[in-house]
Amino acid sequence: MMGMPSCREVARMLAEGEFQNAPRRVRWMVRLHFAMCRHCDRFARQMGLISRALKHMMSRRPDELNRPDIAQRIIARLKHP
Protein backbone atom coordinates (compact mmCIF):
# COMPACT_ATOMS: atom_id res chain seq x y z
CA MET A 1 0.00 0.00 0.00
CA MET A 2 2.04 2.94 -1.29
CA GLY A 3 -0.36 5.91 -1.47
CA MET A 4 -3.81 6.53 -0.06
CA PRO A 5 -5.57 3.17 0.37
CA SER A 6 -8.85 2.60 -1.46
CA CYS A 7 -12.12 2.12 0.44
CA ARG A 8 -11.99 -1.59 -0.36
CA GLU A 9 -8.47 -1.89 1.08
CA VAL A 10 -9.44 0.03 4.21
CA ALA A 11 -12.59 -2.03 4.81
CA ARG A 12 -10.74 -5.29 4.21
CA MET A 13 -7.98 -4.38 6.65
CA LEU A 14 -10.55 -3.48 9.32
CA ALA A 15 -12.56 -6.67 8.81
CA GLU A 16 -9.39 -8.76 8.98
CA GLY A 17 -8.57 -7.14 12.32
CA GLU A 18 -5.16 -6.18 10.94
CA PHE A 19 -5.32 -2.42 11.47
CA GLN A 20 -3.43 -2.50 14.77
CA ASN A 21 -0.71 -4.71 13.27
CA ALA A 22 -0.20 -2.50 10.21
CA PRO A 23 2.94 -0.36 9.91
CA ARG A 24 2.64 3.10 11.44
CA ARG A 25 2.66 4.79 8.02
CA VAL A 26 -0.25 2.66 6.81
CA ARG A 27 -2.26 3.37 9.96
CA TRP A 28 -1.63 7.05 9.46
CA MET A 29 -2.85 6.87 5.84
CA VAL A 30 -5.94 4.95 6.94
CA ARG A 31 -6.75 7.58 9.58
CA LEU A 32 -6.37 10.27 6.95
CA HIS A 33 -8.72 8.26 4.74
CA PHE A 34 -11.30 8.19 7.58
CA ALA A 35 -11.14 11.98 7.79
CA MET A 36 -12.12 12.20 4.12
CA CYS A 37 -14.50 9.24 3.78
CA ARG A 38 -17.53 9.05 6.05
CA HIS A 39 -18.45 5.61 4.69
CA CYS A 40 -15.17 4.03 5.77
CA ASP A 41 -15.39 5.92 9.05
CA ARG A 42 -18.83 4.41 9.62
CA PHE A 43 -17.55 0.96 8.63
CA ALA A 44 -14.71 1.32 11.16
CA ARG A 45 -17.11 2.39 13.93
CA GLN A 46 -19.29 -0.63 13.18
CA MET A 47 -16.28 -2.97 13.33
CA GLY A 48 -15.51 -1.46 16.74
CA LEU A 49 -19.10 -2.02 17.89
CA ILE A 50 -18.98 -5.64 16.74
CA SER A 51 -15.70 -6.28 18.49
CA ARG A 52 -16.92 -4.78 21.79
CA ALA A 53 -20.28 -6.56 21.60
CA LEU A 54 -18.59 -9.92 20.99
CA LYS A 55 -16.18 -9.36 23.86
CA HIS A 56 -19.09 -8.54 26.16
CA MET A 57 -21.14 -11.50 24.93
CA MET A 58 -18.33 -14.05 25.01
CA SER A 59 -16.99 -12.98 28.41
CA ARG A 60 -20.35 -13.33 30.10
CA ARG A 61 -20.21 -16.09 32.69
CA PRO A 62 -23.66 -16.55 34.16
CA ASP A 63 -23.52 -17.39 37.86
CA GLU A 64 -25.38 -20.56 37.09
CA LEU A 65 -22.27 -21.97 35.36
CA ASN A 66 -20.53 -21.97 38.73
CA ARG A 67 -23.29 -23.99 40.36
CA PRO A 68 -21.61 -26.90 42.16
CA ASP A 69 -24.38 -29.29 41.13
CA ILE A 70 -23.28 -29.13 37.45
CA ALA A 71 -19.75 -30.29 38.29
CA GLN A 72 -21.24 -32.79 40.75
CA ARG A 73 -23.46 -34.32 38.06
CA ILE A 74 -20.52 -34.59 35.67
CA ILE A 75 -18.38 -36.24 38.36
CA ALA A 76 -21.15 -38.75 39.10
CA ARG A 77 -21.52 -39.63 35.40
CA LEU A 78 -17.75 -39.98 34.96
CA LYS A 79 -17.64 -42.37 37.92
CA HIS A 80 -20.65 -44.37 36.76
CA PRO A 81 -20.90 -44.00 32.98
Binding site: S6, C7, R8, E9, A11, R12, A15, E16, G17, E18, C37, H39, C40, R42, F43, R45, Q46, M47, G48, L49, I50, S51, R52, A53, L54, K55, H56, M57, M58, S59, R60, R61, E64, L65, N66, P68, I70, A71, R73, I74, I75, R77, L78, P81
Partner: protein
Protein backbone atom coordinates in the same frame (compact mmCIF):
# COMPACT_ATOMS: atom_id res chain seq x y z
CA UNK B 1 -7.47 -18.55 41.18
CA UNK B 2 -5.64 -20.68 38.57
CA UNK B 3 -3.19 -23.18 40.04
CA UNK B 4 0.54 -22.56 39.58
CA UNK B 5 2.52 -24.70 37.12
CA UNK B 6 3.86 -26.86 39.93
CA UNK B 7 0.36 -27.40 41.32
CA UNK B 8 -0.97 -28.18 37.84
CA UNK B 9 1.78 -30.75 37.27
CA UNK B 10 1.08 -32.32 40.66
CA UNK B 11 -2.61 -32.53 39.72
CA UNK B 12 -1.76 -34.28 36.43
CA UNK B 13 0.48 -36.74 38.24
CA UNK B 14 -2.33 -37.42 40.71
CA UNK B 15 -4.77 -37.96 37.84
CA UNK B 16 -2.39 -40.40 36.15
CA UNK B 17 -2.09 -42.32 39.40
CA UNK B 18 -5.88 -42.28 39.75
CA UNK B 19 -5.49 -40.72 43.19
CA UNK B 20 -8.70 -40.04 45.04
CA UNK B 21 -10.07 -36.51 44.64
CA UNK B 22 -7.88 -35.62 41.60
CA UNK B 23 -10.64 -36.12 39.03
CA UNK B 24 -13.12 -34.19 41.19
CA UNK B 25 -10.71 -31.23 41.46
CA UNK B 26 -10.19 -31.23 37.69
CA UNK B 27 -13.92 -31.21 36.97
CA UNK B 28 -14.74 -28.54 39.56
CA UNK B 29 -11.98 -26.24 38.33
CA UNK B 30 -12.64 -26.46 34.58
CA UNK B 31 -16.40 -27.03 34.28
CA UNK B 32 -17.41 -23.31 34.28
CA UNK B 33 -14.95 -22.41 31.47
CA UNK B 34 -15.92 -25.44 29.36
CA UNK B 35 -19.61 -24.76 29.87
CA UNK B 36 -19.05 -21.11 28.86
CA UNK B 37 -17.24 -22.27 25.71
CA UNK B 38 -20.12 -24.61 24.80
CA UNK B 39 -22.68 -21.84 25.32
CA UNK B 40 -20.56 -19.38 23.33
CA UNK B 41 -20.55 -21.86 20.44
CA UNK B 42 -24.33 -21.74 20.44
CA UNK B 43 -25.24 -24.90 22.31
CA UNK B 44 -27.96 -25.18 24.93
CA UNK B 45 -27.05 -25.49 28.59
CA UNK B 46 -27.83 -29.22 28.51
CA UNK B 47 -25.65 -29.73 25.42
CA UNK B 48 -22.87 -27.65 26.94
CA UNK B 49 -22.95 -29.85 30.02
CA UNK B 50 -22.83 -33.00 27.88
CA UNK B 51 -19.89 -31.56 25.91
CA UNK B 52 -18.02 -30.73 29.12
CA UNK B 53 -18.59 -34.25 30.41
CA UNK B 54 -17.42 -35.84 27.16
CA UNK B 55 -14.36 -33.59 27.20
CA UNK B 56 -13.36 -34.75 30.67
CA UNK B 57 -14.07 -38.34 29.75
CA UNK B 58 -11.87 -38.19 26.62
CA UNK B 59 -9.14 -36.36 28.51
CA UNK B 60 -9.07 -38.91 31.34
CA UNK B 61 -8.99 -41.82 28.91
CA UNK B 62 -5.99 -40.37 27.10
CA UNK B 63 -4.27 -38.69 30.03
CA UNK B 64 -1.06 -40.64 29.51
CA UNK B 65 -0.67 -38.93 26.15
CA UNK B 66 -1.05 -35.44 27.64
CA UNK B 67 2.25 -33.58 27.68
CA UNK B 68 2.61 -31.44 30.77
CA UNK B 69 4.18 -28.70 28.64
CA UNK B 70 0.77 -28.03 27.07
CA UNK B 71 -1.57 -25.71 28.92
CA UNK B 72 -4.27 -27.88 30.38
CA UNK B 73 -7.10 -25.42 29.79
CA UNK B 74 -6.18 -24.90 26.12
CA UNK B 75 -5.83 -28.65 25.70
CA UNK B 76 -9.32 -29.19 27.15
CA UNK B 77 -10.72 -26.51 24.82
CA UNK B 78 -9.21 -28.44 21.90
CA UNK B 79 -11.04 -31.62 22.92
CA UNK B 80 -14.28 -29.72 23.53
CA UNK B 81 -14.06 -28.03 20.14
CA UNK B 82 -13.80 -31.38 18.33
CA UNK B 83 -16.63 -32.84 20.41
CA UNK B 84 -18.72 -29.78 19.56
CA UNK B 85 -18.13 -30.28 15.83
CA UNK B 86 -19.16 -33.96 16.19
CA UNK B 87 -22.32 -33.00 18.03
CA UNK B 88 -23.19 -30.39 15.43
CA UNK B 89 -22.67 -32.93 12.63
CA UNK B 90 -24.93 -35.35 14.47
CA UNK B 91 -27.61 -32.70 14.66
CA UNK B 92 -27.26 -32.21 10.91
CA UNK B 93 -26.54 -28.55 11.39
CA UNK B 94 -23.69 -28.55 8.93
CA UNK B 95 -22.26 -25.15 8.30
CA UNK B 96 -22.71 -24.01 4.76
CA UNK B 97 -20.20 -21.82 3.04
CA UNK B 98 -21.51 -18.32 2.96
CA UNK B 99 -21.38 -15.82 0.17
CA UNK B 100 -20.47 -12.96 2.43
CA UNK B 101 -17.19 -12.22 0.66
CA UNK B 102 -18.97 -11.94 -2.70
CA UNK B 103 -21.46 -9.53 -1.14
CA UNK B 104 -18.58 -7.49 0.27
CA UNK B 105 -16.84 -7.21 -3.12
CA UNK B 106 -20.07 -6.10 -4.79
CA UNK B 107 -20.15 -3.06 -2.53
CA UNK B 108 -17.18 -1.49 -4.36
CA UNK B 109 -16.71 -0.15 -7.86
CA UNK B 110 -13.74 -0.95 -10.12
CA UNK B 111 -11.68 1.81 -8.45
CA UNK B 112 -12.24 0.30 -5.02
CA UNK B 113 -14.60 3.06 -3.86
CA UNK B 114 -17.92 2.40 -2.18
CA UNK B 115 -20.66 1.71 -4.73
CA UNK B 116 -23.05 0.60 -2.04
CA UNK B 117 -21.92 2.34 1.16
CA UNK B 118 -22.47 0.74 4.57
CA UNK B 119 -25.66 1.60 6.38
CA UNK B 120 -26.62 0.90 9.95
CA UNK B 121 -25.50 2.47 13.22
CA UNK B 122 -23.24 5.47 12.82
CA UNK B 123 -22.39 6.11 16.43
CA UNK B 124 -19.51 4.25 18.05
CA UNK B 125 -21.28 3.91 21.41
CA UNK B 126 -22.37 0.37 22.20
CA UNK B 127 -25.82 0.45 23.75
CA UNK B 128 -28.14 -2.34 24.85
CA UNK B 129 -30.08 -2.29 21.58
CA UNK B 130 -27.00 -2.70 19.38
CA UNK B 131 -25.62 -5.34 21.75
CA UNK B 132 -28.85 -7.34 21.36
CA UNK B 133 -28.85 -6.95 17.56
CA UNK B 134 -25.24 -8.16 17.32
CA UNK B 135 -25.92 -11.08 19.66
CA UNK B 136 -28.85 -12.12 17.46
CA UNK B 137 -26.57 -11.91 14.42
CA UNK B 138 -23.89 -13.98 16.18
CA UNK B 139 -26.32 -16.91 16.18
CA UNK B 140 -25.64 -17.14 12.44
CA UNK B 141 -21.91 -17.67 12.90
CA UNK B 142 -20.35 -21.10 12.45
CA UNK B 143 -19.08 -23.15 15.40
CA UNK B 144 -15.48 -22.42 14.35
CA UNK B 145 -16.11 -18.69 14.18
CA UNK B 146 -17.77 -18.65 17.59
CA UNK B 147 -14.99 -20.76 19.08
CA UNK B 148 -12.35 -18.42 17.65
CA UNK B 149 -14.04 -15.34 19.11
CA UNK B 150 -14.61 -17.06 22.47
CA UNK B 151 -10.93 -17.99 22.75
CA UNK B 152 -9.80 -14.54 21.63
CA UNK B 153 -12.26 -12.33 23.48
CA UNK B 154 -13.20 -14.29 26.60
CA UNK B 155 -10.07 -16.33 27.22
CA UNK B 156 -7.53 -13.88 25.79
CA UNK B 157 -5.73 -16.69 23.97
CA UNK B 158 -2.97 -15.90 21.48
CA UNK B 159 -3.51 -16.43 17.75
CA UNK B 160 -1.07 -19.34 17.97
CA UNK B 161 -3.08 -21.07 20.72
CA UNK B 162 -6.35 -20.50 18.84
CA UNK B 163 -4.83 -22.02 15.69
CA UNK B 164 -3.77 -25.06 17.72
CA UNK B 165 -7.21 -25.55 19.23
CA UNK B 166 -9.03 -25.15 15.91
CA UNK B 167 -6.38 -27.01 13.91
CA UNK B 168 -6.03 -24.21 11.33
CA UNK B 169 -3.18 -22.08 9.98
CA UNK B 170 -2.86 -18.40 10.89
CA UNK B 171 -4.03 -17.45 7.39
CA UNK B 172 -7.12 -19.63 7.78
CA UNK B 173 -7.87 -18.09 11.17
CA UNK B 174 -7.61 -14.60 9.70
CA UNK B 175 -10.03 -15.53 6.88
CA UNK B 176 -12.40 -17.20 9.35
CA UNK B 177 -12.60 -14.08 11.52
CA UNK B 178 -12.71 -11.75 8.51
CA UNK B 179 -15.76 -13.57 7.13
CA UNK B 180 -17.37 -13.58 10.58
CA UNK B 181 -16.96 -9.80 11.01
CA UNK B 182 -18.32 -9.15 7.51
CA UNK B 183 -21.27 -11.43 8.17
CA UNK B 184 -22.03 -9.73 11.48
CA UNK B 185 -21.81 -6.28 9.93
CA UNK B 186 -24.11 -7.21 7.04
CA UNK B 187 -26.60 -8.69 9.50
CA UNK B 188 -26.37 -5.66 11.80
CA UNK B 189 -27.08 -3.37 8.85
CA UNK B 190 -30.12 -5.44 7.80
CA UNK B 191 -31.56 -5.62 11.30
CA UNK B 192 -30.89 -1.93 11.93
CA UNK B 193 -32.79 -0.99 8.77
CA UNK B 194 -35.68 -3.28 9.66
CA UNK B 195 -36.06 -1.80 13.12
CA UNK B 196 -36.12 1.84 11.97
Amino acid sequence: MAPSNTEAEADITALRRREGGAMERLVREHTPALMAAGLAMGFSQADAEELAQETFSAFLEAIDRFESRSRLKTYLFGILYNKALDLRRKRRREESLDAVEGEFEKRFNARGMWASPPKGPEDSALNAEIQTLIEQCAEGLSASQRAAFFLKEAEGESAEAICNVLGVSYTNLRVLMYRARLKLRECLERNWEKRS
